[in-house]
C-alpha cells in the first residue's frame, strides 16, 4: 500500500518546442499509512502532478508505482489497480456529472468494480448510507442533482465517492477548498483515518493551518521539481 513517483517529467502538450517542462525529474514517495501534503504556489504544477500520480495524465518520462506495481508512461494499467486509487479533484462542479444524482455519483466506483453499465445506488444502500454519514451528508441530499446542492456539499459527496472502495492510494487536489472550518476539519480527519487504515494519502492544499496538523510530511513541489540530470542538458 504505497505510492511512489520516480523521475517524472511532463510538458504540456502543444507547448512551444524548447519550453521548459512543467515537471522535471520529480520523485515522491508515500508509504502505507502516511499522509503527505503537497504545497506550491499556484501554477507550479500541483494538479498535473496529482493527475500523474492517479495515472490520469500520461508522463513524458518516469514511473509511477502503486502498491509495488510500477507503471511506465505507456503501460496498460489493470482495472484492479485503478479501483484501488481514490481521486478527489479540485472543482467538484467539473468533477460531478450534472445529470447524475449524488447517490449515483457516490456509488459509481462500486458499480464500475461490479461491471455495471450505470451507477446503481439501489444495489448498495447500506454502503451509501455509511459513506454519507462518514462525510456528514444528510441522506435527503443524496436524491438531489449537483445543481441543487452547494459547492461544499458536492465536494463532500465527491470525497465519499473517492472513499467508496476503501482505496489503497488516495489522491486529493484541494479537497477542502470549498469547505468551512468545521467541514474542513472533519474531512481532513477522515483522510487521516483512511491513512491510519493503511492507505497512502497525497493531499495538495493551500490550507496552511489545518493540513500540517494531520500530515506526516509536507512537500514543497518547487523543491522536488528539478532536472534529474542538469549536466546532460545543453
Amino acid at each position: 500500500m504505497s505510492l511512489e513517483l520516480a523521475g517524472v517529467c511532463y510538458t504540456h502538450p502543444g507547448a512551444a518546442p524548447g519550453t521548459r517542462p512543467l515537471l522535471e525529474g520529480v520523485g515522491l514517495e508515500i508509504g502505507a499509512g502516511e499522509v503527505v501534503g503537497l504545497g506550491a504556489p499556484s501554477g507550479a504544477g500541483k494538479t498535473t502532478l496529482l493527475g500523474l500520480a492517479a495515472l490520469m495524465v500520461r508522463a513524458d518520462r518516469g514511473t509511477v508505482s502503486i502498491n509495488g506495481r510500477t507503471f511506465a508512461p505507456d503501460a496498460a494499467v489493470p482495472r484492479r489497480v485503478r479501483h484501488g486509487v481514490g481521486v478527489v479533484l479540485q472543482s467538484p462542479r467539473a468533477a460531478a456529472d450534472p445529470r447524475l444524482r449524488l447517490e449515483s455519483l457516490i456509488c459509481a466506483p462500486m458499480s464500475i468494480r461490479d461491471g455495471a453499465l450505470r451507477p446503481q445506488p439501489r444495489r448498495y444502500p447500506e454502503r451509501l448510507a455509511e459513506l454519507a454519514e462518514l462525510v456528514n451528508l444528510e441522506p435527503s441530499l443524496l436524491r438531489r442533482y449537483p445543481h441543487q446542492v452547494s459547492d461544499g456539499q458536492l465536494q463532500r459527496a465527491m470525497v465519499a465517492r473517492a472513499l467508496a472502495l476503501d482505496p489503497a492510494v488516495l489522491i486529493c487536489d484541494e479537497p477542502t477548498a470549498q469547505l468551512d472550518a468545521r467541514n474542513t476539519a472533519s474531512i481532513l480527519r477522515l483522510l487521516a483515518d483512511r491513512a491510519a487504515a493503511g492507505s497512502a494519502v497525497l493531499i495538495a492544499s493551500h490550507d496552511g493551518a489545518a493540513l500540517p496538523r494531520i500530515a506526516h510530511g509536507m512537500v514543497d513541489l518547487a523543491r522536488i521539481n528539478r532536472p534529474a540530470d542538469p549536466a546532460g542538458r545543453a
Partner: protein
C-alpha cells in the same frame, strides 16, 4: 423541471386530433367531385368552404395535415437516427472514420437541399417514401455535427476522466456519461426538424414534384389555392396556410420549453452589457433602502423537491441583509447555509427552477428577477467560486479582458487589457493563455480581474481565495481593499476566517437560510452573539 407552455401543446394536440379524427369520421374520396358545389365560401354546410372541384376544404385540409405530419414525422425520425448514428460513429471510432464521416457531412451540406430532394423525388415519382427519403438524406448533417461535438467535449470532461481513473470501461462511460449527454440533443433535433420537414414536403408538393395531385398534402392544397385566389376564393389559401403556420409555431415552441428543462451548467458570470428594460421603482421603497448598496428584506428562496413530488425545499428563509456601500461586506456561514445562492439571487443568476419572494433593492431601486439580471454587468457583477469553469474556454484571458472592457465602453487595446490584469498579478505570458492552461489559482485571479473590469460598483465575490496560496491571497486582499477604498461595494462569501478578519468591514453570518448575526467586523468576530457564529469561529478540532 419546468413544464412546457400549455398553449402550444394544446394547439398541437388539437391539430393532431383534427388530422387523425376528421378523415376517419368523415371519409372523403379525393377523386369524388361535386361540380354543383364548386368554390363555395365557408358556410354552415361547408365549414371551410369548397375547392374548385367541390371538395370540402375542412375534410381535405385534415387529410392534407395527416399526410404532411406523417411524412414529416418519418422524415425527421429517419434523419435524426441517421445523424445520431453518424455522429456517434465518428466520435467513437475517431481517426479515419471520423474524417470520412465529417467530409461526408461537408459534401452533403455543399449540395442545395431542394435540388437534391427534387432529384431523389424525380427518380421515384409520386412515392411518399421517396419524399421521406429525400428530406432525411439532406437534413441529417446538423444532428451529426452536434452529436459529435458534444461527445468530444464530454469525453475530456473532468467527470469522464474521474470515471477512467476509477477503472471504468468504455461501456460504463458511454452509458453513464456520454449517451445521457447527447440524448436530449437528439430529442431536440427530432422536434426541431418536424416543422422544417413539413415545409420541405410542402415546397416539393407545391413545385409539383411531391405527392400525386389527387392526394392531399398541405403543399398540394396551397398549390390548388393559387388558382382559386385569383377568383377571390381566399379560404382555399387561408385554412391550409393557417394550419401550416400553427403546426410549425407550436412544435417550435415545444423546443423552447424542452431546451430549458433543467439548467445543465451554471450560467456564465460575465455577460455582455445587459440590455434589459428599465426596472420599476417605488419612491417609498427607494427611500427606505437608500443608504445600503444592496438591501434585502424578507427574502425566501425555494427549489422544487428533487423527486418532483412533495413540498418544495426552502433554502433561504425570510432573510434580511444589508451591504454597506464602499465597504467590504463579508458573509460567513457553514457550507450549505445558502451563501452562494444569496449571491446568485442578488445577481439574477438563479437556476430556472428556483423561485424567490421578498424585496431586493440595489442602489436604492427595488428590482425583480429580470431587473437583477439586467443590473448584472453594469451595477453588479458576480465572480464565482469555481472560476476555472466560469471563464470562456475558447478565448485567451487577454481577449476576454478586452471584451469586458469594450462592453463597459472603455479603451480595450491589448495594453489596456494587460494593465487591468496586472493588479491581479496576471502577467503578459499568463494573459496570452487559455483558461485550461491556467492553474486553479491563476484562473481565480483572472476571474476577479474580469469582474473588476466590468466597472460595476457592487462586486460580489464567492470564495475568492479557496484555490489560492497565502501569497496570492495577500494580493487579492490588497486588490479588494483598493476596490473598497475607491468606493466600490464588495460583498464576499468566504470560509477563510483569517482573510475575513483581515479585510472585512462588516460581517454577516448565515445559518440555515437566515442571517443570524451581522454588524461591524470587529464586534462580530471578537464578541459573537449567536452560537452559530461562535461555532464558526471556534478552532476546528
Amino acid at each position: 423541471m419546468s413544464r412546457p407552455r400549455p398553449l402550444p401543446v394544446l394547439l398541437l394536440a388539437l391539430a393532431v386530433l383534427y388530422a387523425v379524427l376528421v378523415p376517419w369520421l368523415q371519409p372523403l374520396d379525393p377523386r369524388a367531385v361535386d361540380l354543383d358545389a364548386v368554390l363555395r365560401a365557408p358556410s354552415g354546410d361547408h365549414f371551410m368552404g369548397t375547392d374548385q372541384l367541390g371538395r370540402d376544404v375542412w375534410i381535405r385540409s385534415a387529410q392534407a395535415l395527416r399526410m404532411s405530419l406523417l411524412v414529416a414525422l418519418l422524415a425527421s425520425a429517419f434523419s435524426t437516427l441517421l445523424g445520431v448514428g453518424v455522429g456517434l460513429l465518428a466520435a467513437w471510432r475517431g481517426g479515419l472514420v471520423d474524417r470520412i464521416a465529417m467530409r461526408l457531412v461537408d459534401a452533403t451540406n455543399a449540395l442545395p437541399h431542394l435540388l437534391l430532394a427534387v432529384v431523389i423525388v424525380a427518380l421515384w415519382r409520386g412515392q411518399w417514401w421517396a419524399i421521406v427519403l429525400s428530406i432525411a438524406l439532406t437534413h441529417w448533417t446538423q444532428v451529426a455535427r452536434i452529436v459529435r461535438a458534444r461527445l468530444l467535449s464530454e469525453r475530456t470532461s473532468d467527470y469522464v476522466r474521474l470515471a477512467r481513473a476509477s477503472g471504468a470501461g468504455t461501456a460504463f462511460i458511454w452509458f453513464t456519461h456520454l449517451l445521457p449527454a447527447v440524448a436530449p440533443q437528439a430529442a431536440i433535433a427530432l422536434v426541431l426538424q418536424l416543422p422544417h420537414a413539413i415545409w420541405h414536403e410542402s415546397s416539393l408538393s407545391f413545385l409539383g414534384v411531391g405527392l400525386p395531385p389527387e392526394s392531399a398534402s398541405l403543399g398540394l392544397l396551397l398549390e390548388d389555392a393559387r388558382g382559386g385566389l385569383l377568383s377571390g376564393a381566399w379560404w382555399l389559401l387561408a385554412f391550409p396556410a393557417g394550419l401550416l403556420v400553427l403546426v410549425s409555431w407550436s412544435t417550435t415552441s415545444l423546443i423552447d420549453s424542452a431546451g430549458t428543462v433543467r439548467p445543465r451548467r451554471r450560467p456564465a458570470p460575465f455577460p455582455a452589457k445587459a440590455t434589459g428594460s428599465a426596472p420599476q421603482e417605488t419612491a417609498a421603497e427607494a427611500d427606505r433602502a437608500s443608504a445600503a448598496a444592496i438591501a434585502v428584506a424578507d427574502l425566501s428562496l425555494w427549489f422544487p423537491s428533487a423527486t418532483g413530488a412533495g413540498a418544495d425545499t426552502q433554502v433561504l428563509k425570510s432573510l434580511d441583509y444589508r451591504a454597506e456601500p464602499g465597504c467590504i461586506n463579508v458573509i460567513l456561514g457553514s457550507s450549505g447555509a445558502g451563501k452562494s445562492l444569496l449571491l446568485r439571487t442578488l445577481t439574477g443568476l438563479l437556476p430556472g427552477d428556483a423561485r424567490f419572494t421578498g424585496n431586493i433593492a440595489v442602489n436604492g431601486r427595488t428590482l425583480d428577477a429580470a431587473g437583477l439580471a439586467a443590473a448584472r454587468g453594469t451595477e453588479t457583477v458576480l465572480v464565482p467560486g469555481s472560476a476555472g469553469t466560469a471563464l470562456n474556454p475558447v478565448r485567451t484571458i487577454s481577449a476576454q479582458m478586452r471584451q469586458t472592457l469594450r462592453a463597459s465602453r472603455r479603451p480595450a487595446s491589448p495594453a489596456d487589457a494587460l494593465e487591468a490584469l496586472e493588479a491581479a498579478a496576471i502577467d503578459e505570458s499568463l494573459a496570452a493563455r487559455y483558461p485550461h492552461e491556467l492553474s486553479g489559482g491563476q484562473a481565480q485571479r483572472a476571474a476577479l480581474a474580469l469582474g473588476i473590469a466590468t466597472g460595476a460598483r457592487i462586486l460580489l465575490v464567492d470564495e475568492p481565495t479557496s484555490a489560492l496560496d497565502a501569497a496570492t491571497t495577500g494580493i487579492l486582499a490588497e486588490l479588494l481593499r483598493a476596490q473598497a477604498a475607491s468606493g466600490t461595494t464588495v460583498i464576499m462569501v468566504t470560509h477563510d476566517l483569517e482573510l475575513a478578519g483581515g479585510i472585512a468591514d462588516h460581517v454577516a453570518v448565515l445559518e440555515d437560510g437566515l442571517v443570524v448575526e451581522s454588524g461591524p467586523a470587529a464586534r462580530v468576530l471578537a464578541n459573537p452573539a449567536h452560537p452559530a457564529t461562535g461555532s464558526l469561529l471556534g478552532t476546528p478540532a
